[in-house]
Symmetry: C2
């Protein structure tokens, strides 16, 4: 099992992947042509729209190869795409996986990654129906396309928030970003390796089932997943909807783990909460009298927190944070920018 | 216009791309949510299957940055995916483009590439509805996902060829591969730069309309596009269908340009014809009494050659080439392997 990609070749590797998927993957009855042809094909359900998204991970940019097991890497690559489909209110159906590999990449690495993909797709009855393999340069890349479905007219986008809406968020934003900082720090301080936020970073989960339930309820005005960070993603809603936002500092769900991480990192927990972090939770806006229905939809499958953190305002107000004493400040709605100089 | 990707940032670049697509791209009425959300969505047509394929180009592996204009690079990336959809008998509808860029990549380079994408998509009324931008390592990558549609039950795959079928091929296989070799040689012999096969390599066209017409006719048994090379792609049909093939050497359409290239390269034109080459023509198998219908379908939009080059045999025969005098040899059906050591 210590074969490399270069030893088994492109078509040998495709055979190994097909065998793995035949053995471990879900076999969807709506797939009419699967892996191994010029294109895959499936029969869409009547009355449903097709959703499609893609996202990539690049070695050393989005993951540190020495810090993450290929199984977790595969899970992560799929989680972030499942999260996008869920944030539209959809259900994942099919995936295409495009990999840029090196000749000396072990086949077992690729197989472990596929086991990670399948681990995340199987619970939805979703399957991998195609992809591409190629040789790359100095960094591996994993580009996942995920196709989903949503009942026609039920998709919830980011451009439909209205002034006066309540802003809700699931879970504890900022934890994954803090976990990444701890992971980097743990190289010189190994005792940090067991910090719970490092696990939160390496093994993220998604709120796709809750997103689907929220969309099905019909009571959400706008929805987005937190993949850039709370302020960045709320900023996307504001930009696309032409609105602003007012956040109540005391209502932001800063977890004990996040506060602990802030102490270790010498950072302000509020900055960690608002800043760059891929938590794959949901930010939802809805009319104030529909909060209970949104709560019910989320609670149907998620036992975690759903916090009411602010309100949508007119665009001119920007995104502002206020404290109980009336003091406040403007938050820049700048999202995660992949081309800015940063680590890793 | 000499901005770099690093200067305008991820979200600045997304804005520039959206502006370009609003201005130059086709606006499909079936798209319900386009670029700028967690996922795009569209309403599929009733009675149609959805086709989906993806293919990537990596700098220095699939193209030589100093030899190809970004507009042609964009066209090429889209042509090879359109070719895959066409080889199933489908029509392209929507594309997602995932790019791995460097901070110093000029924005104009990205925009020219998008103009190339659009140049190929617009004639089909197909549009770009999503994608992803990320920073990469030492080599750019372009990963295109293309979604198409085909009338339910009409898709033509590679696994359905039958012993006794006639084998047909469009155009002149091998020309693109020979063009690539000439391109490399032209670095030391600049007088070769104007060789017509270099243009054939840099500006490939596809036979997607003909593939769709062939599938609609209902008379093709199996179909594949030539992206690995004639012997490699015929080999895929044979592998997936569990058949062999007998090729008639005198019937193979070796063009004058290919013979000329063979002389320059000191190669056997037959080897160039059979070997690695991405020509994006079609190999079609059909019952002998349906050749006329296939000819009519192809001729409806393609004035070029459609050659009857052999017959499908039992699997045990492998893939064999015979000459008029009865002599022959076995051809290895090994396709293009991206992980084999090769240039470029």
């Amino acid at each position: 099992m210590s074969d490399t990609v270069g030893q088994v070749g492109e078509f040998g590797l495709i055979r190994r992947i097909r065998n793995l998927l035949d053995r471990e993957g879900f076999q969807s009855p709506s797939v009419t042509i699967g892996i191994g042809d010029d294109a895959a094909s499936f029969l869409p359900r009547q009355g449903y729209e097709i959703l499609v998204t893609c996202d990539s991970l690049v070695e050393g940019r989005h993951y540190l190869p020495e810090e993450i097991h290929p199984f977790d890497l595969g899970r992560r690559a799929m989680v972030l795409n499942i999260s996008d489909i869920g944030a539209m209110g959809g259900k994942p159906l099919f995936s295409l996986v495009s990999l840029g590999l090196k000749s000396d990449t072990p086949v077992a690495f690729v197989e472990d990654m596929y086991l990670g993909f399948v681990e995340e797709l199987n619970p939805f009855g979703a399957s991998i129906i195609g992809g591409n393999l190629t040789a790359t340069g100095d960094r591996l890349f994993i580009d996942v396309t995920l196709i989903g479905e949503v009942e026609a007219g039920k998709a919830v986008g980011r451009s439909t928030a209205k002034a006066g809406d309540v802003i809700l968020v699931t879970g504890h934003p900022g934890e994954s970003g803090a976990g990444l900082q701890l992971l980097l720090l743990s190289r010189s301080r190994p005792e940090l390796k067991s910090h719970p936020l490092i696990k939160a970073h390496l093994r993220p989960s998604h709120r796709a089932r809750e997103g689907e339930a929220v969309a099905r309820s019909g009571f959400a005005r706008a929805m987005i997943d937190t993949s850039d960070g709370f302020a960045g993603d709320l900023g996307h809603i504001c930009d696309e909807s032409g609105v602003g936002a007012l956040l109540f500092a005391e209502k932001l769900p800063l977890s004990a783990d996040l506060k602990n991480a802030a102490r270790i990192l010498g950072a302000d927990p509020l900055d960690l909460f608002l800043g760059e972090s891929d938590d794959y939770g949901l930010i939802i806006s809805c009319a104030g009298h529909h909060v209970a229905q949104i709560r019910a939809a989320v609670a149907s499958s998620y036992p975690g927190l759903l916090s009411e953190v602010g309100v949508v305002t007119e665009a001119e107000k920007g995104i502002r944070l206020i404290h109980g004493d009336g003091s406040g400040r403007e938050i820049r709605a700048a999202g995660w920018d992949h081309f800015k100089a940063r680590s890793p």
